[in-house]
Amino acid sequence: MSSINTSPGRAASLVSRFNLQQYVVYLGFLAIFLFFAIVLKDSGFLTVRNLSNIVLQTAPVTIMAIGLVFVMSAGEIDLSIGSIVAVAALAAAVAINAHGLLAGVLAGLGAGLLIGLLNGALVAYVKLPSFLVTLATLGLFAGVSRSMTDLRSIPVTNNAFTGFFGSGSLLGVPSLIWWTVIAVAIAHLIFRETRFGAHVLATGDNSRAASVSGISVAQIRLAVLTISGGLAGLAGLLYAGRLQAAKYTLGETDLMTVIAAVIVGGTLLNGGKGSIVGALVGSLMMGMLNNGLILMGLSVSDQMIVRGLIILAAVAVSLREKSR
């Protein structure tokens, strides 16, 4: 006799599977949207132009958030993404101006992947905590991007580059939206439907269980931090493309927004659970929040306070669910 799939059991499991945290991002997104739609009715929040602007401005944050979903699902953290963005954007700008489009793209992505690989190697093989490793590389590469340029901004005048990564469009859809959609789709497929994705989750959930099951926990840690570095590099290209310039300040203040987007999107801080689509919605929510707060006339410092409070609330929900 077996009680598998008997109706009481299934009902119980459906009830237990319904938890606030899974849906909080969608409810939050809706609530904030409605709030701004009503309050800012006359300030142009609901115009197509403003809404599409939100999506365009959010693209680099979404790309970074995707990388962080992999990292956090594996039970690690990457604090260095902001610095990687700046280094990658500057490397790309310098390479474009010297050798053209392809060199620029390779330099930007390469810089991101290499820093990610360095983070990953230190975590996976030297066995240092990712928090400390990426805190150190955050500072290290912030310094590198400053000294690389003497704090100057480097203009990017290559039209092909700024079109491809910034202001261009294909089939009437802006390139930044293409990048967002493609990155989310590929990452979602890898995260949800491949063995690699399953191993990332298992590593973050119970690294000993993963390890005795034959999963190379070290390789997973190396891989997620390299992915995160590479995607932060791509985010750097998107910034350089959209702003037609690279500067050491790019990405500097994004870390908090990215972490908030990922956690609000249902990825657990301690690993074992994550969502790419959730991170996208979380990221759009943070972008909408920024946009709405500016339209409401809040000062930069007030915006920071509100964002901080929302992150606190998100972390509280996330940890409460984990310890349930």
């Binding site: 599977r17 298992a202 005795v212 034959g214």
Partner: protein, 250 residues
């Protein structure tokens, strides 16, 4: 019925196993044969060398000397992955399940089947899991259930089902009921007994002599790394085993 008498070759033979850690001898002259369909219990006080022996059989430690023979072939195992390739599965005391993943993902942890596009074959994982938990009568709400929503007994049932799915030769149970209540222990013991019909060997480590007498066909006693003796469960009693474990006569 005891396979010892039927003439089938043992699934596992340990011959003169010795393990030194530096100058310290953890195991000496250990020899044991395990037959298909047989449950052998390994008993001994803390520090007697049981966990070292488990680690040798599961490929975590290589023995300093001696031979491990699996179905009449001497093998050298240098990792848990190799032990698994030889058909040996372990159920750990602390379960080694990923709590926030589903039952079926745990069942296939590290060995997930993929379709021709390289994507996870969830249908197959779910079907195999449902069949297995049904066969073993592990009562869980569904293959989709998350591990952390299950009771301790259900979790251990899942761990044993996983081992059963992959083991072709031997399952090693390391204190399988140490963390469980009375009713759950009884349920897990029923599952363990049902493994006998699957013609695999079971080596169980347990601190509970009552359990050892309920489950095992033979009992092997270790004391301070030495093999004190092996007894048929039906031909011994608790007093004798306790005396062998402690080295004191009653």
């Amino acid at each position: 019925m005891n396979a010892t008498t039927t003439g089938t070759p043992p699934v596992l033979q340990l011959r003169d196993i010795r393990k030194n850690f530096g100058g310290l001898t953890a195991i000496e002259n250990f020899s044991l044969e395990l037959y298909p369909g047989e449950i052998v219990a390994l008993v001994g006080d803390n520090g007697a060398g049981k966990s070292t022996l488990v680690k040798i059989v599961t490929g975590v430690h290589a023995p300093t000397s001696g031979t491990i023979i699996i179905e009449e072939q001497a093998v050298a195992m240098s990792s848990a992955t190799m032990a698994r390739a030889h058909g040996i599965e372990v159920v750990y005391q602390d379960l080694a399940l990923a709590d926030q993943q589903t039952v079926y993902m745990n069942m296939f942890l590290g060995r997930e089947p993929v379709n021709r596009f390289g994507l996870l074959d969830r249908r197959r994982m779910i079907d195999d899991t449902e069949k297995l938990v049904k066969d073993l009568d592990v009562r869980i709400p569904s293959a989709h259930a998350t591990i952390r929503d299950l009771s301790g007994g259900q979790r251990q049932g899942v761990a044993i089902a996983r081992a059963t799915h992959w083991a072709s030769k031997l399952i090693l149970l390391d204190e399988p009921t140490a963390a469980l209540g009375v009713a759950e222990t009884a349920k897990v013991e029923t599952i363990v007994l049902s493994l006998k019909q699957r013609n695999i060997g079971v080596l169980i480590i347990s601190h509970s002599l009552d359990q050892v007498f309920r489950l095992s066909d033979r009992i092997c006693v270790l004391r301070r790394g030495k093999q004190i003796g092996v007894r048929k469960t039906s031909e011994t009693d608790k007093n004798e085993i306790v005396a062998m474990i402690t080295g004191l006569q009653h």
